[in-house]
């Protein structure tokens, strides 16, 4: 049973990772906590649901959801965050926070209206229910798919960020947009690409979660937002590898808490751990690109 719980945790953690990666990527370039990310994730689940109900095959619905969320995310940047860029850093940062809150609220309200507040789920048979057994573990085809899909996406992203100049461009824009422009970096397209990727990843996470846990609901984003904070900080803001590790860790920790601790303690534990980690390792468990503690350079 212990091993089974670890497996459960790893699969949940893998999906957190998809969600958190997009969120972290946006933080990386924009230095903003995009509170609309949860709503975009939710929108991904909704879009794919309605597409499947309308008769689309699941894989196509997934692609559609990715496209829609990528677009939404890009629009949020283009007509939200970008317009703030001309103001001072602090104004832009706080403004972006509220813009993302507002956009999140708009998306959730639309979803609420469309779904008439109901909890939806994919029709039965959208994804075959099949189980494999071995080593005393049960694993479903869906869980295998989730693990493989997440691994592939994470590897692609890592490749893209590390092996192309894109990753460096992203960081340059984040550090100093003006200097980047002088170096020939088109910050607008860098932003567009990052937001697009983040949105698409959120969509995949949304669809996977909707499939795994059989529920699609307008408020489904919020708990994942909170988890993303945890993951991103434990892993180190801007540190993608750290975010993946932290996601898996969080997934397993939660499974363990559910399995072996008195009920209700799981949240206290997770957030208290987060707090303690931050105090002792202000850069997160795996370090981050951003130096937190105050007084820096000359």
């Amino acid at each position: 049973m212990f091993a089974q719980q670890v497996l459960n945790g790893l699969i949940s953690g893998a999906v957190y990772a998809l969600f958190a990666l997009g969120f972290n990527l946006i933080f990386g370039v924009q230095k903003v906590l995009n509170l609309a990310h949860g709503a975009i994730f939710m929108t991904g689940a909704f879009v794919s649901y309605y597409a499947v109900v309308a008769g689309m095959p699941l894989w196509l619905a997934l692609l559609l959801a990715m496209a829609v969320c990528a677009l939404l995310s890009v629009l949020l940047d283009r007509f939200g965050f970008q317009l703030l860029r001309k103001y001072s850093a602090a104004d832009a940062e706080f403004g972006a926070l509220v813009i993302s809150i507002g956009v999140g609220q708009v998306l959730t309200s639309i979803a609420q209206k469309v779904s008439e507040t109901k909890v939806l789920s994919f029709p039965f048979g959208t994804f075959p229910v099949e189980f494999y057994r071995g080593l005393g573990l049960r694993i479903s085809l869906l869980q295998v798919t989730v693990a493989v899909l997440v691994a592939v996406l994470v590897l692609c992203l890592a490749y893209f960020l590390q092996k192309t100049t894109f990753g460096r461009q992203v960081r340059a824009v984040a550090i100093n947009p003006r200097a980047s422009a002088l170096l020939g970096i088109n910050s607008r397209s860098v932003f567009m690409l990052t937001f697009g990727i983040a949105g698409a990843l959120a969509a995949v996470a949304g669809v996977l979660i909707a499939l795994s846990f059989n529920s699609i609901q307008f408020l489904m984003g919020e708990p994942y937002m909170l988890k993303a904070f945890v993951v991103v900080v434990l892993g180190g803001l801007g540190n993608l590898g750290g975010a993946v590790l932290a996601s898996l860790l969080l997934g397993v920790a939660q499974a363990m808490a559910a399995a072996y601790l008195p009920p209700g303690l799981s949240d206290i534990l997770v957030y208290a751990t987060l707090f303690v980690v931050l105090i002792f390792k202000p850069n997160g468990l795996f370090g981050g690109a951003v130096a937190p503690a105050g007084v820096g350079r000359q």
Binding site: S88, A90, V295, Q298
Partner: protein, 251 residues
């Protein structure tokens, strides 16, 4: 009469020995120069004095009391003011507000008076603004009183930094390249102000690459290279030193 004294000060960054056993004094009433090639450790010395960086070893004392381990803000409250090589203003705040914040060390209003808005606190706030304006006039910057500091031309931003540092009537003033980005005439005008401050009893330490400025202003010059002092004396002596010419001046 304040004296700042560095004894065998060292600071390493990983393998880099940025400051490697520096001893020198800054005495009130004098302007001391600190010159040297790029990366020789001059700004690091300022940051060590100001408490921004921790010493690897050695001692820094102010009037005999050791300040080596004090944090930046308490060093400042003891009367050590500084400017930054890469200008750091409060860019959103007006020029006047940038200067007024410089008086912080001198403010006397108690916590209670401040919280309750007692007349003593209010009066003090008013007076400081007046003194700030006087300072602006002295630096010929009155016209910019209400301009946001971030929107000034480079040379004017430097002046704002200096006014802010001077505002606190420091015992010791540390200037890191104060006239970078100014032409000789502008530099000379500022030099006069510093000379006057020294006459009034301030101890000034100046880092500059403008050798003419240094020669005219400093009674005493130290030369750093690779974190070590390689020469010391009057400006004329130092500038003739072959080691200094080789490492720093060229030709």
């Amino acid at each position: 009469m304040a004296t700042l004294e560095l004894k065998g000060v060292r600071r390493n960054f990983g393998g880099v020995k940025a400051v490697d056993g520096v001893s020198l004094q800054v005495r009130s009433g004098t302007v001391t120069g600190l010159i040297g090639p790029n990366g020789s450790g001059k700004s690091t010395v300022v940051n060590l004095i100001a408490g921004v960086l921790k010493l690897t070893s050695g001692e820094i004392s102010l009037d005999g009391s050791n300040i080596s381990t004090e944090p930046a803000d308490s060093v400042a409250r003891r009367g050590v003011a500084r400017t930054f090589q890469n200008i750091r203003l409060l860019p959103e705040a007006s020029v006047l507000d940038n200067v007024v914040i410089g008086f912080y060390r001198l403010e006397k209003a108690s916590l209670m008076a401040s919280l309750l808005g007692l007349p003593s606190s209010r009066k003090e706030s008013r007076e400081l603004r007046e003194r700030g304006r006087a300072l602006l006039a002295q630096f010929d910057m009155s016209a910019y009183e209400n301009v946001a500091a971030g929107g000034l031309a480079y040379g004017y931003q430097r002046r704002v930094e200096m006014m802010r540092a001077v505002a606190s009537s420091p015992e010791i003033l540390l200037l890191d390249e104060p006239v970078a980005g100014m032409n000789d005439v502008e530099a000379r005008a500022l030099g006069k102000i510093f000379a006057r401050l020294a006459e009034q009893g301030m101890g000034v330490l100046v880092i500059e690459h403008n050798t003419r400025f240094v020669s005219e202003l400093c009674q005493e010059v130290h030369v750093l290279d690779g974190g070590r002092l390689i020469a010391h004396g009057s400006a004329q002596e130092v500038m003739r030193d072959p080691a200094v010419i080789a490492a720093y001046l060229g030709n």
